[in-house]
């Protein structure tokens, strides 16, 4: 745990420090078969992967940019650099990570967190992982936690081939196709049957290179009866040109297994975050999502859960904080295929300083799914008159015996509540921050302590100077 609970003044600078781009190998900007081949060479892909990438590129060119959400006109794909790496390759000891990258992760508290409370850590810097390590006792249980590239050539190569972009096919949408073509980095996790990983694994993604994209792929398979908590954190310094994040997360939760997937995303405000996350849940298995979206200029993010097996369960807890120049379109999707499946989507959104937050959800109950239960709850808090909050829930219920609930609330911070807290000696700024933190409390409760502290710091940071 990072000792941040005593922090009084929050310093955004830990996120904003840009490292000089030293010793970098950058691919030419743009998207051509030639560039894809170069990436494939660079990564020493198996043949099938090279072909897959080229197919994805074709699909990418064929598909249209989504027109139903926030504008991504500011994103000029001809100028995004899809692959940037250091000359030095990945390491599994901190000592071998290049000094400046090590400093960056030290500032973000990653190695400290690993020492104290994590079963394993992966750290990605731009396009490649720079560090990957898993605790010996966890490895001894047979848990595999590695970068995806080495997994592609190792013992689990067939397993990866069988799962890679099967849940999120490249035809899903334009940026899924892009991801398939240029993906790099990310993690592979396999938890064998019956193994319960008691402490979390964590991947941290840092995009430092200006005008670049990050396209990491996370593939997690939790085998029958096993359980895992996986955490991802993301941040980037701010540049005045667009950066792009189009990662992909595919999660396979087998019969009787449990997976919790927690994310705190704090991309800088020039980032287009077009991320795709999807999970398929087996019989009697459980998926829990905890998702905090604070950063990026534009986000499209709707983790999707397919409740395939009977009695599969899903719970999604999310918070989105949209400030100045942010248009964050977030939510969740769930598909009920199995009988007696249940899902709960509970989100909070906060908008201020002209920020736009849109909650979008989709609940589908297949006609074969008997006695499905789904509930969606969305609460929004607008901190001023120039901000915006929308709720777009979609439901497609094809079974007669489904139990479906939906509630949405949009509110403001009450002046009376601010006065109440101020009459106790609390400053206006702190009073507002307390109310907002309280609003977000059910989400921070779901996070590991150091992330909850981080989230509260982010809220305080966002609330600083908000008194006009």
């Amino acid at each position: 745990m990072r000792e941040k609970s005593q922090v009084d003044s929050i310093d955004r600078s830990v996120y904003d420090i840009r490292d000089a781009e030293r010793d970098n190998w950058r691919i030419t900007a743009g998207l051509t078969p030639d560039i894809i081949n170069q990436i494939s060479d660079e990564k020493n892909d198996p043949d099938w992967m090279r072909e897959f990438r080229l197919q994805c590129l074709e699909i990418y060119h064929r598909l249209r940019v989504p027109d139903w959400g926030p504008s991504i006109d500011g994103l000029d794909m001809d100028n995004i650099v899809t692959y940037v790496r250091r000359d030095k390759r990945m390491s599994n000891t901190w000592e071998d990570v290049p000094e400046d990258i090590k400093d960056t992760f030290e500032r973000l508290g990653i190695p400290q967190a690993e020492r104290k409370s994590l079963a394993g850590v992966g750290a990605q810097y731009d396009s490649e992982l720079v560090y990957h390590n898993v605790k010996a006792e966890v490895a001894a249980q047979g848990v595999i936690y590695s970068d995806l590239e080495s997994a592609l050539r190792g013992e689990y190569a067939d397993m990866i081939r069988a799962h890679f972009m099967k849940l999120v096919p490249p035809t899903d949408h334009k940026f899924a196709a892009l991801h398939g073509a240029v993906w790099s980095g990310g993690s592979f996790v396999y938890v064998p049957k019956g193994v319960e990983v008691s402490i979390p694994l964590q991947s941290y993604f840092r995009l430092n290179a200006k005008g670049a994209g990050q396209f990491e792929h996370t593939l997690i398979i939790v085998d029958e009866g096993a359980s895992l908590h996986f955490i991802e954190g993301c941040s980037a310094p701010k540049y005045n040109v667009a950066n792009l994040h189009a990662g992909c997360v595919e999660l396979f939760v087998e019969k009787n297994a449990t997976l919790r997937y927690s994310t705190i995303e704090n991309w800088s405000k020039n980032m287009y975050n077009l991320n795709t996350k999807r999970a398929v849940i087996g019989e009697n298995a459980r998926m829990e999502w905890v998702s905090g979206s604070f950063g990026s200029h534009v986000s499209y993010l709707y983790p999707m859960t397919i409740l395939k097996g009977d009695r599969a369960q899903m719970e999604f807890t999310g918070i989105t904080f949209a400030g100045r120049e942010q248009n964050l379109d977030t939510g969740a999707k769930v598909v009920h295929l199995g009988s007696d499946t249940s899902s709960y989507i509970g989100t909070k959104s906060i908008s201020k300083d002209g920020g736009v937050s849109t909650f979008r959800s989709s609940v589908v109950v297949d006609q074969k799914a008997r006695r499905a239960k789904a509930a969606v709850s969305c609460q929004s808090l607008m901190l001023d008159d120039i901000s915006r909050s929308d709720t777009i829930p979609a439901m497609d219920i094809r079974a007669g015996d489904a139990d479906i609930g939906h509630e949405a609330q949009i509110g403001r911070i009450s002046d009376e509540a601010v006065f109440y807290l101020m009459s106790r000696g609390i400053s206006e700024e702190d009073a507002r921050a307390m109310i907002v933190s309280g609003f977000a409390d059910n989400v921070s409760k779901e996070l590991p302590l150091e992330y909850a502290v981080e989230m509260n710091n982010l809220i305080r940071l966002e609330m600083k100077g908000s008194i006009g």
């Binding site: 009450s414 002046d415 009376e416 509540a417 006065f419 109440y420 807290l421 101020m422 009459s423 106790r424 000696g425 609390i426 400053s427 206006e428 702190d430 009073a431 307390m434 109310i435 933190s437 309280g438 609003f439 977000a440 409390d441 059910n442």
Partner: protein
């Protein structure tokens, strides 16, 4: 009378440009207990809010001195730090902010120093016991899911932990059952005895006042203070009501 703790000089109070309180003057000395009574809608609560600095109200004339400092223009948090407290008639709910962590941050704000968690916890539990507030409320969101009586008791809890020099209690007894009134009155007496703090008790009933020594009673009718007397005035109102005072209202 010694140097006043609170000295209100001829204030007018308006809400949205409509004047609702007229030419109010009032002095409260350290440790004194004053009662403000009057029929419904007289403006008693407005005075309490205005003294605490509610942004809803503007003071369009006169000034307010607290401990000899002019606080007329000060924000509520600054007034609180100087030693003022207002028990709300309808305490606000703040979901997700636990009563305990709220109390802790407010105390460290007021005193400017970090308090030892263990010490604080002990104190808080003691006062919660006195007021018969069930311990699990400390973990709950501030006032969230509290009954009317529990909210009022939580206000008294705050008063006892913050130890202000002047506590304004706005209708703290309204809507309470007999037990809750007894506990609230017990809390108020503890505050008087342990801190020697002054009180301005706004009420239109008299149940809560029975066990207390009252120094001064003010009658407000139609936005003006029309009459004042000592503690015995409370009994008179108890017997005779406000009729005789209503005719005294501002010309």
């Amino acid at each position: 009378m010694s140097t006043p703790l609170l000295s209100v000089h001829h204030i007018d109070v308006a809400v949205e440009n409509k004047r609702i309180l007229h030419d109010i003057s009032l002095d409260i000395a350290p440790g004194e207990t004053h009662v403000l009574m009057g029929p419904n809608g007289a403006g008693k609560s407005t005075l309490g809010y205005a003294l605490m600095g509610s942004p809803r109200y503007t003071i369009s004339g006169g000034d307010i001195l607290f401990k000899n400092e002019d606080i007329t223009e000060e924000t509520p948090d600054k007034r609180a730090k100087r030693g003022m407290f207002l028990s709300f008639q309808e305490p606000l709910e703040v979901p997700g902010l636990s009563l305990e962590s709220f109390l802790r941050s407010a105390i460290s704000e007021r005193t400017g120093e970090k308090i030892r968690p263990w010490e604080f916890c002990k104190q808080m539990k003691k006062v919660m016991e006195l007021l018969e507030i069930s311990p699990e409320k400390a973990e709950r969101g501030l006032n969230v899911g509290f009954s009317g009586g529990e909210k009022k008791k939580a206000e008294i809890l705050q008063m006892l932990l913050f130890r202000p020099d002047l506590a304004i209690l706005d209708e703290t007894d309204s809507g309470l059952d007999v037990d809750a009134v007894r506990l609230v009155a017990e809390g108020i007496r503890t505050y008087q005895q342990e801190t020697g703090g002054a009180l301005l008790i706004i009420t239109h009933s008299t149940r809560i006042l029975e066990p207390l020594h009252i120094d001064r009673t003010h009658i407000m009718v139609d936005g003006a203070l029309v009459y004042q007397g000592d503690g015995s005035l409370v009994d008179r109102i108890n017997r005779e009501g406000y009729d005789e005072f209503i005719s005294m209202k501002r010309a």
